[in-house]
Symmetry: C2
Subunit: 207 residues, 2 copies
Amino acid sequence: MQIRKANVLEVRVLSDIMKRSLGAKTLLFPTPVMVVGTFDMDGKPNVMTAAWGGICCSDPPSLAVSIRRSRLTYQNLVAKGDFTVSIPSERYVAEVDYFGIAGGRNEDKFHGSGLTAAKAEHVDAPFVKEFPMHLECRVRHMLDLGQHTQFIGEIMDVKVDSDLVDDGIIDVARLQPFWYAPGTSEYFGTGENLGRGFTIGKKLSKK
Amino acid sequence: MQIRKANVLEVRVLSDIMKRSLGAKTLLFPTPVMVVGTFDMDGKPNVMTAAWGGICCSDPPSLAVSIRRSRLTYQNLVAKGDFTVSIPSERYVAEVDYFGIAGGRNEDKFHGSGLTAAKAEHVDAPFVKEFPMHLECRVRHMLDLGQHTQFIGEIMDVKVDSDLVDDGIIDVARLQPFWYAPGTSEYFGTGENLGRGFTIGKKLSKK
């Protein structure tokens, strides 16, 4: 208890010395680069890039993604309830950025990017064939949070390029996922492998 | 319409040739490394590492993090409603892993790691003083999803080490955030800057 009290510093001192307040902003590093694939009611495939989201439950395996109401993807998700999340590798950074800029109501983004829509196996939604990995999801919850609505999808299956999988293990370094830094809107690649979780921290544990 | 139909391939063909199904798993790259700080009812600070979560709304600026009911952090979040998310830099990968392995009921993780708890300015929660950045959050929604409960916090402020900020812009490459790859449980550092969002994709857009 004495240790605890000695450890807790007053933030006033800290912020004067070394921490700068940037205000109430959506800054988190990393955020994922999720290419959300949906069909509209006529079966036309669309994709948009989203960075607001992530895994949200282990069982049932679930993923959250937040979308603005103005987006075609929002309309498709509400109408159909099925989606995919395709994970691109670094070489596709320009196409991914385009998927975030362009509006699916105004242009066919598969046509514009030269990439290919393929139908998922377990859900009625398209994924990007050229990307190394995709998740097949079904909407289970919708939560209106303000500017964004959060869709929580149960992950029905994950598919990965065969040559990146050995014994059921994905070679993440070769898959080359990349991430998005809000604020400066920069994309960053995959860096050095820093070690294995639930392992490198054991030396600090009492047990 | 003709273009669309030609683009949509049958997944059966694809999966035979090049895509391997890994089943319904929580695989997404990257997932963030979020060190969640809370006080218990006696004011004792605790931290745990979470990878299930991310930004979920731009306005009000909000962040989601999913926690199991068995965790001390869950109990603290329900009781107090305030938390921080500290973002570590690469050099702290072992401490971060330890924060995920150890249980806050059994050991004082600040003491075990040698790192320092400091009280946040806008919420009643501790952050990790040595880490370059933290978000100060207040719980607005709680959603029981199964094995995990999702806590959605409004971001009240973000603070970053002064020497990493110039004109309100964070130097992400120098901050050196890292990320977590589920499945293999590997940590990866920050790679190459691949370009600026809402910019490098413009060449593909019709407008």
